[in-house]
Symmetry: C2
Subunit: 445 residues, 2 copies
């Protein structure tokens, strides 16, 4: 169908049974991402043994392709520093910096000391790994603005050893200031004696080294760029970010968004302690809000004492409010994230959600009223109570599901993080309160 078929389990088994020669032989035929999967499926000890056996040009690529969660750096740290340095030297500078960046300062220094390309990696390590500087490579194709096409081609031939893939040729002046780009196509299809200046395209779209990685991904996606130049404040070309660096960013950010929405901070990890640490704070905050909601019921305990059957309805009304609120929230959070809510449109979004809440409230309210009517003797008034409470709570759900993320966004807080707790608190408090209030007024007189 797509990738060449290979049997990851069989490859892993070769390592486990010590048939290293055969493992290495077969590893030559694998794509780096596939070999990375094999390594990821091994225990730490087996992985170190496998990496020791592999030639550095294979192990380096595979380690660079391993998912962040697997901490390829630890494997590197378990090797002799010279061997680790040999592996790192095989990598593009950005991948090298990513791997080394995972390590503690002492191990870092040991490996860095053995690197041939230490200067480049050192430079990249200075940038926050979640910025354009942290994503970029310094290896790029650049030619001078005074070159002819023939000279540019010569320069590209000269550099082609060092630069693995390129999608654009950058044109700089004598101070290395970025003045434009040259489409590769132009270079291939133009007469050799023409000056490259003639084919120069403006390089309007560029990023600063401290730009957040999510923003870099957005710019590249928006303008359909395979690579984007990174320039310092003076306009000097210092690196480039390629589309494949950004693919990983999008995957990471998607994970982060979904986890946040589910009330989990931090990364995916199979470590129990890390999991508790990333989830317990959120649960404790939720507990606090649960007590707020509970206090609404406590304050009306006499209603429950006189009318115990109402207790079971509290969960139905509050729960449905929570569900409807989460729906409104998911839609609004995603609209905000995609930049689909323009300034001045907030009111329309909120009104829409109110109307949707009212319509869904009427449908569900009619249903619960009917159920109450049919299952309780003299259930007409009870039906009125739960039906009205459902309509009211689903309107509140729609409104809070839209208002809260929009407010948080305006306050520059990521609405994905904190919205759901406010929304469900609202729907719980309001749902409980409304059922008990209506029950007191309509049923206990």
């Amino acid at each position: 169908m797509s990738a060449p078929p290979f049997d990851a389990a069989a490859m892993a088994e070769l390592v486990r049974t010590g048939r290293m020669a055969l493992f290495v032989e077969r590893a030559h035929d694998l794509e780096p991402a596939d070999l990375a999967d094999v390594l990821a499926s091994l225990d730490e000890d087996e992985r170190v043994a496998a990496v020791r056996a592999l030639p550095p040009e294979l192990s380096s690529q595979a380690l660079a392709e391993m998912p962040v969660e697997e901490h390829a750096g630890e494997t590197l740290a378990a090797l002799a520093p010279e061997q680790a340095a040999e592996i790192v030297d095989e990598l593009e500078d950005d991948d090298a910096a990513d791997l080394i960046g995972e390590l503690d300062p002492v191990t870092q220094e040991h490996i860095l000391a053995g690197l041939e390309h230490r200067a480049e990696v050192d430079q990249l390590l200075r940038y926050d790994e979640k910025t354009a500087g942290g994503l970029m490579t310094t290896h790029l194709m650049k030619v001078r603005d005074t070159d002819s096409v023939a000279e540019a081609l010569e320069e590209i031939r000269r550099r082609s050893e060092e630069v693995e893939d390129f999608y654009q040729i950058f044109v700089v002046d004598r101070r290395d200031i970025l003045v434009g780009t040259l489409p590769l196509k132009q270079l291939v299809t133009s007469a050799p004696d023409r000056p490259v200046r003639e084919f120069l395209e403006e390089a309007d779209i560029r990023v600063a080294p401290d730009l957040d990685q999510e923003e870099v991904a957005r710019v590249m996606a928006r303008y359909n760029l395979a690579s984007v130049p990174v320039v310092n404040p003076a306009g000097r070309l210092i690196g480039r970010v390629t589309f494949d660096d950004v693919t990983d960013v999008v995957e990471q950010e998607t994970t982060e968004d979904l986890l946040r929405f589910g009330g989990v901070s931090g990364e995916l990890s199979s470590d129990v302690v890390a999991a508790v640490r990333s989830r317990l704070p959120w649960l404790l905050i939720n507990l606090l809000t649960a007590f707020v909601a509970k206090s609404v019921i406590d304050a009306q305990q006499d209603v429950i004492g006189r009318l115990p059957l109402i207790a079971a309805w509290l969960g139905v009304i509050a729960g449905m409010g929570g569900n409807a609120g989460t729906q409104a929230l998911a839609v609004t959070v995603r609209r905000v994230a995609l930049g689909l809510v323009a300034a001045g449109e907030a009111r329309r979004v909120i009104v829409n959600e109110l109307v949707v809440g009212a319509l869904n409230g009427l449908a569900n309210g009619a249903l619960v009223a009917a159920v109450a009517l049919l299952t309780h003797t003299g259930g007409a008034t009870l039906g009125l109570v739960v039906g009205l409470a459902m309509v009211g709570n689903l309107i509140v759900a729609g409104a809070s599901g839209a208002v809260i993320p929009l407010l948080l966004h305006r306050m520059r807080i990521d609405p994905a993080v904190a919205s759901s707790i406010f929304v469900t608190t609202f729907t719980d408090v309001f749902g409980f309160g409304l059922v008990l209030f209506l029950a007191r007024v309509l049923l206990l007189h």
Copy 2:
């Protein structure tokens, strides 16, 4: 910082006040995505007026860049068929097919009839838009396996008019069977008289036209490809998908996943009727499960009658179970989506979640026990009841948050769609039942 600064509101205002000449003049300086934003911010009538005024080479790109939600096809349909055809003819065949694919058959036929490149667009329209065939363009760079480097370069020059961007040169045999790829770099850096066969790289990674778009995106991300060849079952090269087509797919799929997780089927839309239609079914299913949970309370109504204060605790325990279950669910769903749960690892994932649930249960259980102890006279036993119920329910939450998505995944159902409803039903039923059971046994004797 990144994109050239431009004032979308000012541009839109030019259209609204009828200053079309100035609008068109300024539009020439905008990137297509920026012009698309301006069009998206206009009303339908204004947008049609703007598109009428723009030259087709500008309006076509901007319409192609408009977000799916804005239905650029409608604007196209409002134009005279000849003008619409002129605009569509400016587009790459894949963008043309996407735009035309939105329209009803009659309008489609009117526009198709006026197209110069009708055959290509017709061919692409035959594929499901969410497959490789729907994403691909038929415009690509290909050379014959018998060519020399010089002949290949000549062929590329000839085709460079028609092919907008290319990242790979495909090599085919005389029957158009894909035999390999030629890195652009090789072509630029090799002697003209060498045969291209010498530099051929294997094209192992290829996709079938009916492969789902999400799978296409995964393959390209995994192997860091800027473009991937689409081949028919016989091995004939029929198109290519480029990274920028796939960026949009990732964005769409992220939206879909988050919405599904929030209980919303369908797409983002600002239409109230569409919103109700996409949310009401989910709410009705939730209502059904809420009645299941309610029946647990109804069955124990005598406990509530004799001990009304327990009613307020029901929501606390069930709610916290729902939160913890959603956390476990978000983590497991994401791990499954990223392919991080290998065969045979399911048991370890479930055990981990059980342990995390137990630990979080102990922390929260101790807290609620303390609160019960401090707020009720003789609250020690009540504390025991709610503390034990919390521990038990958070263990159930962890287990069901892991087991349910893993089971659904094994049954080939997308766990993002249906998991949360099962998890919260479990935590509600179990939470209510446990509190009431423990209260009966420990408090009512």
